[in-house]
């Protein structure tokens, strides 16, 4: 008998069966089931011919570190290290690149009559020829695209897709990569929101005088 894999959102927030938040989440059972199903579709895929498991974990760790949500960053960084097996160099490099690429978002250009609301921030490219060599063309291009989608998605354009094609990505691979980065933007925000909700409830349950 196989055990049900733990719900990643619950695990990262620290929700246990019977908790208040467990009961609240049970009010939206399909969203809970299929948020986890989305995670499994991306990280335990039936078909990895357009995006390998190693690429998925590398991009996920990069994106999670950009979000700076401690539990998620730790979870996806560990998953990357586990997934790389023999190649710690790639894992270490991806995490270094993510630290270097971190910046508050969202920024970027607004179109048309909203152009005066535009804000600017850094673009991102893999640091050096050596890094690009270790990561390879496909992964280097994927990290650059993940940075765009995570921090300044309104700057995305056709040329960004062309760069992925030029690095060897297929149309289907582009869809999977985009879904993975965008899904993490969702999942990590749910973790952030529920962690805050849990923290507030716990603070209110502490007896008076227990100030910390």
């Amino acid at each position: 008998m196989t055990s049900t894999p733990p719900d990643v959102i619950d695990a990262l927030v620290g929700i246990e069966p019977g908790d208040d938040l467990d009961a609240v989440r049970a009010g939206r059972p399909e969203a809970r089931l299929h948020a986890q199903g989305s995670y499994l579709a991306l990280f335990e895929p039936r078909d990895q011919s357009h995006m390998s498991l190693e690429e998925r974990h590398a991009v996920a760790a990069f994106v999670a570190v950009l979000h700076a949500q401690p539990a998620a960053a730790e979870f996806y960084s560990s998953a990357l290290t586990d997934a790389q097996g023999g190649s710690d160099r790639v894992a270490a490099l991806v995490l270094d690149e993510a630290e270097r690429a971190s910046h508050p978002g969202p920024y970027g250009a607004f179109p048309g009559e909203n152009a005066d609301e535009s804000t600017t921030g850094p673009g991102y490219a893999v640091a050096s020829v050596e890094s690009a060599y270790v990561l390879g063309d496909r992964l280097a291009a994927a990290l650059e695209h993940a940075h765009l989608l995570t921090l300044h998605p309104r700057d995305a354009d056709r040329e960004a897709i062309q760069r992925l094609f030029d690095a060897g990505w297929s149309s289907t691979g582009v869809v999977t990569l985009s879904q993975l980065v965008a899904f993490l933007a969702f999942q990590i925000r749910v973790v952030q929101g529920l962690t805050a909700l849990r923290g507030r409830a716990e603070a209110q349950r502490r007896p008076e005088g227990d100030i910390r």
């Binding site: 208040d20 938040l21 609240v24 009010g27 939206r28 059972p29 399909e30 969203a31 089931l33 299929h34 199903g37 989305s38 499994l40 579709a41 991306l42 895929p45 039936r46 950009l66 700076a68 949500q69 508050p104 978002g105 969202p106 607004f110 048309g112 009559e113 909203n114 609301e117 995570t150 921090l151 998605p153 309104r154 995305a156 056709r158 960004a160 897709i161 094609f165 030029d166 149309s171 289907t172 869809v175 999977t176 985009s178 879904q179 993975l180 980065v181 965008a182 899904f183 933007a185 969702f186 999942q187 925000r189 749910v190 952030q192 929101g193 529920l194 805050a196 909700l197 923290g199 507030r200």
Partner: protein, 198 residues
């Protein structure tokens, strides 16, 4: 072999954020209808979505499309208690306005107007941006969504205190978080795989 971008029809970009009906034009070739199998139709959840090029594009990876669609439906259409639909659509609109997704904002602001009958106030969110004030409830939902949408997220006690003060219970707060978080998923797909056109 290097793949090619989709042929783009003539684009008539919207001038500003709007509740008007817009089109969305893909940059990446959707899966041709002739190549759809039962697996792809199941991924659409609603078969009629095969006529929409955005969903035909996402059908290239059917497993994640199916799971995403079922997540979406529960967050927005499960009105068993919790946040009224209009308020969920306000969260979707606020995330889309901050991220700059003109297409997503058009669809969900129109839903917010439909369900709330407060079209002028919804329009102010589009015209003036998320700093526009409407009433304490929507202000709290908009501010919470804006904080949640920042990277890194700045959502915390201040936003939760405002949501509680506006009368939201824990399930309603969960709905607000899920709706705002989900649009951080949707906005990134629609901003990076195509563009809006009138």
């Amino acid at each position: 072999m290097t793949e090619s971008l989709a042929q783009l029809p003539e684009i008539d970009p919207p001038a500003r954020f709007t509740q008007d009906l817009l089109n969305w034009r893909t940059w990446v070739e959707p899966l041709p209808v002739e190549e759809f199998t039962e697996l792809h139709y199941e991924a659409l959840v609603q078969r009629s979505r095969v006529s929409n090029e955005y969903f035909r594009l996402l059908a290239r990876d059917p497993d994640i499309l199916r799971e995403r669609t079922l997540t979406d439906f529960d967050i927005f259409f499960n009105t068993e208690a919790g946040l009224p639909r209009a308020d969920r659509e306000i969260a979707a609109t606020a995330a889309s306005r901050v991220n700059g997704c003109v297409y997503c904002a058009s669809v969900h602001s129109a839903f917010a107007s439909h369900h709330s009958r407060r079209r002028d106030e919804v329009q102010r969110l589009l015209d003036e941006g998320v700093a526009a004030r409407t009433d304490p409830r929507w202000d709290a939902i908009v501010d919470a969504t804006v904080a949640l949408t920042a990277t890194p997220s700045t959502f915390g006690d201040r936003e939760l205190d405002a949501l509680v003060a506006a009368g939201l219970d824990e399930l309603e707060i969960l709905d607000a978080i899920m709706a705002g978080a989900f649009f951080n998923w949707a906005n990134r797909l629609m901003l990076s795989l195509g563009e809006p056109s009138r």
